[in-house]
Amino acid sequence: MSAPDALKGTPLFGQFPTALKFSVREQSRNRLAALLLVLFVPLWYLLMTSIAGDKGLDFKLYATGEMLSVNGKHITLITAGLNSLTMIAGFVVFDAVRKALAFDRRLAFAGFRQSTLIGAKMLAIGIVAGTIALYTALALLVYWRPGFTGWATILAGFVTMTLTYGSLGLLLGVLVKNDLEGFFLIIMGGLTDTFLQNPLGNPAANKPVLQYFPSFGPMQFSVGGSLGDTVLWRYLGLGLIWAASFAVVGLIVFHFRTRSRRPTG
């Protein structure tokens, strides 16, 4: 066998495109999550709307202080969508990040720039989260046609929510030791968070304490746009701050967990 002399030179594969391609692949290979998305989301909408009925509900828009009188079915569709997104996005990213952590560390040791790996991972989360949110928002049209602006604000709220829970999945993926802990935290967190925002299930849904939950921003934005005829950008921003905070903390932990520990004198 010949000695490999010509290994160095112009790299055959760029680091960023390679990492992006494979990160998207590893996150989209989760069959259970795909099945949940395709079957669970429409079924969940159906179930939740049949429970909600057409009962009228009051929903407080915090930007204007206005109390909206809305159809309970519509509010419930939005919270059901947000709720399924928390689980699916959180699960997809958590699973992929946790399983690939040792492998990513090996890549970093082999010379992969950590910042490139992190950037590609984040962009992959964005692409996967966007796709999941788009599907969930499209499936909602089967039960309710809120008009284009209304639908677009729901989609934006959904995207923000998937980014938030995708980033939470990233954070848990680099932090927790085993699957069950992570799944449990994502499911409980997502359920509590979205359930509390809906005045149908929670009589205290219009109380100020809800502002401190991650789904508050996306919920206000989606409801404002689809049922209140107001586009509350600030609330979308609030949701994005949650997403960014989870992501930054997760990426810092990722950076520490993939660095070399070799003691050089």
């Binding site: 290994l7 790299p11 390679t18 399983k99 492998f103 004198g265």
Partner: protein, 215 residues
Amino acid sequence: MTTEREPALAARDIHKAFGRHQVLRGADLTVEPGQLVAVVGENGSGKSTLLKAIAGTLPVDEGEVRLSGELGYCPQDPVLNLNLTVDQHLQYFAAAHRLSSLERADELVKLLGYDKYREAAAGDLSGGTRQKLNLTLALLHDPDVLLLDEPYQGFDWETYLRFWDLVDQLHERDKAVVVITHLVFEQERFDVLADLVDGRLTPRTAVKERTHVGA
């Protein structure tokens, strides 16, 4: 043993404890270029811990590691991405090492005899084939210093012999190779046997006769 050249690998006074259990208590290991060293010791004596410390995957409590040249580390349990195929692994690590060709990767895949699985996801491979890929990833960039932690687990006899041919070639090309081994009958292959006892390494120089077992 020549000491004129700078050693390829010099680990000094490595200490590592897990809780109250002190595993390494001042282990030293020096490997010259072109030297083939076996680390031997009982189960739980800290062989893998030592290699992890040198590779940098495990923080140590005390000590220092100096390397000249590039390092290749083959961990005991394959570290792979089960969703990616063999070819995708090779591309990913070629990108990591900024390699300009996959020539060496192709050679290694053929030599270890798993060419037909290149399109298969790592999750669908047998244990032995995963180990072959694990080893290939450590050798892909033709490193100067190699740390191999029981690299042939799950290999069939034919592949095991090819593995030793590969190590012989690396040896001849002046690479420094450290192998963790349990097998007494292969100990004559090495330049140096280092016993890991009570957290310290004691080298015994072996009289090497390059007889090939079974060949």
